[in-house]
Symmetry: C2
């Protein structure tokens, strides 16, 4: 009938006839403890199967070795890929991840921020495309380092890791333009969000201007959300708009559009070209496969976590707003 009371640092100290301080030093690999003493303590630790209580540790040291991650939806492959990058690097630096789904909803984001704050996380990685003013305010309030991953901040107030969305769309537009399209639609789930308004659409307009093609508002199309279904439903409207090609900001939506085209006997890419943005695995799974901007998804997550560790350690940061390089991958949904 061994009743397993949790064994504390005090138990170890007593059993090893040393003070708690010494045990603490040993456990934390501190210098200044004689090898023999260390060994003695270590033996007792093993014998008693002592495991430090991280909560007590957190209270005393004011560090929880935990970082909060706010993600719109784990179920979204784009963000899931980032999350994986984040977790891998976090683990490498001995941090754990508290994951919270926000659905990109301001209220939920703020609530999550407050919870994480209460939980005393050492840092926060925020994903959500962009940040509203209220969220910005809250982000300032939680006095813990924040890094934005795959999420823009036009004011560059917070450290962030992204690709250059503006240039990416610019490049993609030009490809399609070279293929002979002069009516190219741009599709995103929310055109007024900063990531679209201030970056992608600008890139779109840059290209328009360079190509000497007039801007048509009707070619800017908003999807109801980032889902396959919403893309599927968009197909008709897309054809009616007179567009012959589309740049889509999300792979699921793009897949929906493409399949709807196929189901309506419109050939992709012969009759309509589709280019997408995230290079998630889905781009290889559809038929035709999808041409896309290539983003280093995993790396965006990984780099932002690494950046966060630097901020948490007060290291000198050369560049707060990191832009990772992107590429263009030609697959079957575009002509060239």
């Amino acid at each position: 009938m061994k009743k397993k009371q949790t064994v504390t640092i005090y138990d170890v100290a007593r059993e090893a006839s040393v003070s708690m301080a010494t045990v603490s030093r040993v456990v934390n690999h501190n210098h200044n403890v004689k090898p023999e003493t260390e060994q003695k303590v270590l033996n007792v630790v093993k014998k008693l199967n002592y495991r430090p209580n991280d909560v007590a540790r957190g209270l005393a040291s004011k560090k929880t070795t935990t970082v909060g991650v706010i993600i719109p939806n784990v179920t979204n492959s784009y963000f899931a890929a980032l999350a994986r990058g984040i977790d891998d690097i976090a683990e490498m630096y001995q941090y754990n991840i508290i994951l919270t789904n926000s659905d990109g909803d301001e209220k939920k984001e703020i609530k999550a921020l407050n919870t994480l704050y209460s939980k005393q996380v050492d840092g926060i990685i925020f994903m959500g495309n962009d940040i509203s003013d209220e969220v910005r305010e809250e982000l300032r309030n939680v006095r813990t380092p924040v890094v934005l991953a795959g999420s823009v901040d036009p004011k560059n107030e917070f450290p962030s890791v992204n690709i250059d969305y503006r240039k990416a769309i610019y490049a993609q537009f030009n490809k399609l333009f070279e293929n002979g399209n002069d009516r190219i639609a741009f599709i995103a789930d929310n055109l007024s969000r900063s990531i679209n308004k201030d970056y992608r659409i600008r890139g779109y307009q840059d290209a328009l201007k360079d190509a000497g093609v007039p801007f048509r508002k009707s070619l800017l199309i908003e999807a109801t959300d980032v889902s396959y279904e919403s893309g599927y439903k968009l197909q008709e409207r897309l054809i009616k708009s007179g567009a012959t090609a589309a740049i889509v900001s999300n792979d699921d939506v793009a897949a929906g559009i493409m399949n709807a085209m196929g189901d309506n006997r419109i050939n992709v890419p012969e009759q309509f070209e589709v280019a997408t943005s995230d290079n998630t695995q889905l781009t290889e799974m559809t038929r035709p496969t999808m041409s896309t901007i290539t983003q280093p998804l995993y790396d965006i997550g990984a780099v932002s976590m690494r950046l966060l560790t630097k901020v948490m350690d007060n290291e000198e940061i050369e560049n707060n707003n990191i832009l990772l390089s992107f590429g263009l991958k030609k697959r079957e949904s575009t002509k060239d």
Copy 2:
């Protein structure tokens, strides 16, 4: 120059001229505090913008309102869907989620378990298809409630939420058999894992027996991993095996097989039928779309989190091993 020292319960107590105990009571919505006093405290709380420190709380109360979630890979749509269900219910019950990727690797699983243990999580949800003996041992050691989600335990030692994999495969086999196939392959990433060996393959054999079809070992095919690529590479072997249909245990793998068939001018479903198992969104995105077992993915996660709350609260549990109902969805990759 307001220097923002963190405000503690003590500050609130002083400012409101009450004791810490009273503040604590108010903050925790405890009975036994006069409405006026409560209001007075509440005012100070607001004025000082006091936020309880969850770490201190956790130490004192021995509850962290945090549960650990071990997931093979967030990037896997099947598990991501479960994770979403888990997080939603967790949030509903005021818990947060510490998410750890294990890659289904025993070493990482054990390490994660230990970390979670140190962090004093109130409970753990384990995903990983099945559990090795070492993990089982560790699962016993962490003296915190554990629930398995989408992961079998032949010994039924731990509470779990699943579908009846054996019956599901049985039903699926029969469909394909009725369609005229008598050489039906079964494909999984690891045939010796319990979930396959003890459940799916048994279902497969049950069906074989009922149908009076002899068992052919060559029709049991192991994929190198659960990925689109590994499925794609399997196609040739599949044809050589003489099979005319396949039951696949993972949607990504199934998509790979199907696309490889298409790329090699083998018509699905006319020349080869493919049925898959997870009903992730991918099943609707491929062309042809995929027939599949329908699993309530989100619900498996949600129900297991709910179950965990019950275990954590020491509630009476009527059924420790929950089987959610599954279905069969006919799409384009099978004939009928």
